[in-house]
Symmetry: C2
Subunit: 401 residues, 2 copies
């Protein structure tokens, strides 16, 4: 049970101020005071402390009020981009993507390695990731010592608190303590998170959900993932587990139960198609979805049917999720969107048919073909969130400079 002492009080207000500065760009103290409902005195004290710790910077230009404003001009405050650096990584079956970002989450360098890590031994995967992180850091003209935290986004069921990978399509083993593994290799605090959670935060910070504190994201890749943002925070299941949408079952009647993954996973869609050499090659290299779109454009009926069927199943699942969480927006991302309008429209239609009339107007569906770099950036944001919220858990100011 958390005990509420002055220290916690300060930590809360400090975080709120810092978060307000992050969200609302260069911002003056008065405006922070209005937004956070703290007195100007308190804001002044806290920003002084933040300036002292080097987390924010002053900027004397950029007062946006009427140019003809009377009185003492406002001093704008903004996040010090160099207050920290983090690395985010997205690991998929056929590629790894890395991004180094500054304290604001802006990408300093990124790196894509089109390597199939699928089912390699843990040590091999860890080796490859370690290498990628190091190279990406060097690309940003930095050294590993400059990195404050690392977050690795993986598909599958991840236990965020412990950094344990319960199960992932790219690991042969289950229950892997991957956070410890990478931390000891890189000598930098490394956390492990579901890739769906990473892209969820990316959309909250920079993407299609900037304006919302509640939303749901569905990621359609090899694995079907889910991210739920609730009151501005990632909602993690009871054990801190991430969700795995692919494990949802559809079906009715005797033994007609089907897992969503077997209907709508990447391999399920492509698997139904008799592949010629070029298509098979494309799939093996992870460009299967883009190639499939070309086939669909050429009116390949097998693929069109598979896409429609998959979209239908996903539409149903999304409707159920909206029924449960009631979010104002559902962001749908992932490589499967490359299948194009047949797929997307199929999702929309099934969703409209399945959503109960009483909440039909609650949620809007938004599709976004996020590029890989965004996923890695999202992982970096997860790492940044930990840094921001460190005052909640552990005492003491964030890593100064």
């Amino acid at each position: 049970m958390k005990t509420a002492d002055p220290e916690l009080m300060r930590a809360i207000n400090r975080f709120n101020v810092l978060d307000t500065i992050r969200r609302h760009g260069p911002i003056s103290r008065v405006e922070i005071s209005e937004r956070s409902e703290l007195s100007t005195t308190t804001v002044s004290a806290i920003t002084a402390s933040l300036l002292d710790d080097g987390l924010i910077l002053t900027r004397h230009e950029g007062d946006i009020r009427n140019a003809a404003a009377r009185g003492r001009p406002r001093v704008m405050l903004e996040l010090n981009p160099d207050a920290a650096r983090v690395v985010g990584a997205k690991i998929a079956a056929n590629r790894m993507v890395f991004a180094v970002t500054n304290f604001r989450g802006e990408v300093l360098s990124d790196l894509t390695l089109p390597i199939r890590v699928d089912r390699q031994p843990i040590a091999v995967i860890a080796d490859l990731i370690e290498d990628g992180v190091r190279r990406c850091v060097v690309d940003a003209d930095l050294s590993l010592e400059d990195i404050d935290s690392i977050c690795i986004g993986l598909p599958g069921v991840i236990e965020h608190r412990t950094g344990c990978v319960r199960s992932s399509p790219i690991f042969r083993e289950t229950d892997v303590d991957f956070a410890s593994e990478m931390t000891s290799r890189l000598k930098v605090a490394t956390i492990v998170e579901s890739d769906a959670h990473a892209i969820t935060l990316a959309h909250h910070w920079f993407g299609r959900a900037r304006d919302l504190d509640d939303m749901v994201l569905v990621s359609l890749e090899q694995t079907l993932g889910l991210g739920v943002l609730h009151a501005g925070q990632l909602f993690r299941g009871a054990g801190g587990l991430s969700h795995n949408l692919g494990d949802l079952v559809l079906g009715v009647g005797h033994s007609q139960t089907v897992r969503l993954a077997t209907l709508a996973g990447e391999s399920a869609i492509l698997g139904e198609h008799p592949m010629d050499g070029r298509f098979a090659e494309a799939v093996r290299l992870g460009r299967g979805m883009a190639h499939a779109q070309a086939l669909i454009a050429a009116e390949d009926n097998t693929l069109i049917a598979a896409s429609a069927r998959a979209g239908e199943a996903i539409g149903l699942a999304v409707a159920n999720i909206v029924t449960l969480f009631g979010p104002p927006r559902v962001v749908i991302v992932g490589s499967s969107l490359s299948l194009g309008s047949v797929f997307v429209e199929s999702i929309r239609e099934a969703y409209q048919a399945a959503i109960p009339p009483s909440i039909r107007s609650v949620a809007e569906l938004v599709f976004d073909e996020s590029v890989d770099e965004t996923w890695a950036q999202g992982a970096a944001v997860v790492a940044l969130c930990e840094l921001y919220e460190s005052p909640w858990g552990t005492t003491g100011p964030a890593p100064g400079l």
Copy 2:
């Protein structure tokens, strides 16, 4: 955004102390200090204030330590049962149940009115409820002026924050501001809540989830409801909405989508059976489920098949919910459980078949045929929780009783 001032700090600690006293029966200041990790000084100050406000009582007997304990004996503190009184109500299609409880949530009087309110005009339903509340209060030798708060539990989709009933099977209208209606009638602060949420809190305080701060409850009545307890608090959807399990869709393939309610709602199960006069009468009076069990015992194959089919659908839905929320326990309640073992075993089997192997061991299923009074008590607990004015509150279990 909540601003953290000393007042909030005090409110948090005060609530924690009060909650600790409620949970752990008569308890000494030292033990509160240990459990809450507050200093004895602070605990003393807060308990003094609580005593001053009449919320708790001292008791000089009952020190459970070794009878041969040296030193000053502990003074035990406990909730003052008379610090407040609330009324809880459960409104179902064919009956209304009321309970007056004290500050501890102990039932002082209860009243069941086997009246069918189904689809009556709002004013009629409100009249009946008003009457029931008044009678139940009188039964407890109290007057309405002694009542501090009232909570009415209804099936359907309820917006807790505003007290608006978005849709309910017992209302003809939608979007009814029922909280205002009842508050103005009774002149006592009245809140409206989903009946599933009410029974969820009842099980958290007194029932099958006393030991847990995370769990999921599924209620199988005329309406299929869901309650999610997360970190000791009811998890409400983004808009403060309650969930409606019956709106979930099962199904795969073209236009085979079926809503859970049409498969597993009470009327769906009973509706398939060709009713003779006595059965129809029983159903009309709300004893349909009990009667159905008798028919099942007599090997009525139509009903057995319907029960099995319904159980199957529910088992699937429960598996999906566990996949999403990962709770350590699922409590299943509701009148449909009267159908007996055919139904229950069917749920269990379908659940086992549908739950992904990786999380098969996460959750246990618990069935509980909660009596109606418990539902009303749960509504009272909802009202008590508001009184406790939990600022961030984990309103947890009371092991005693």
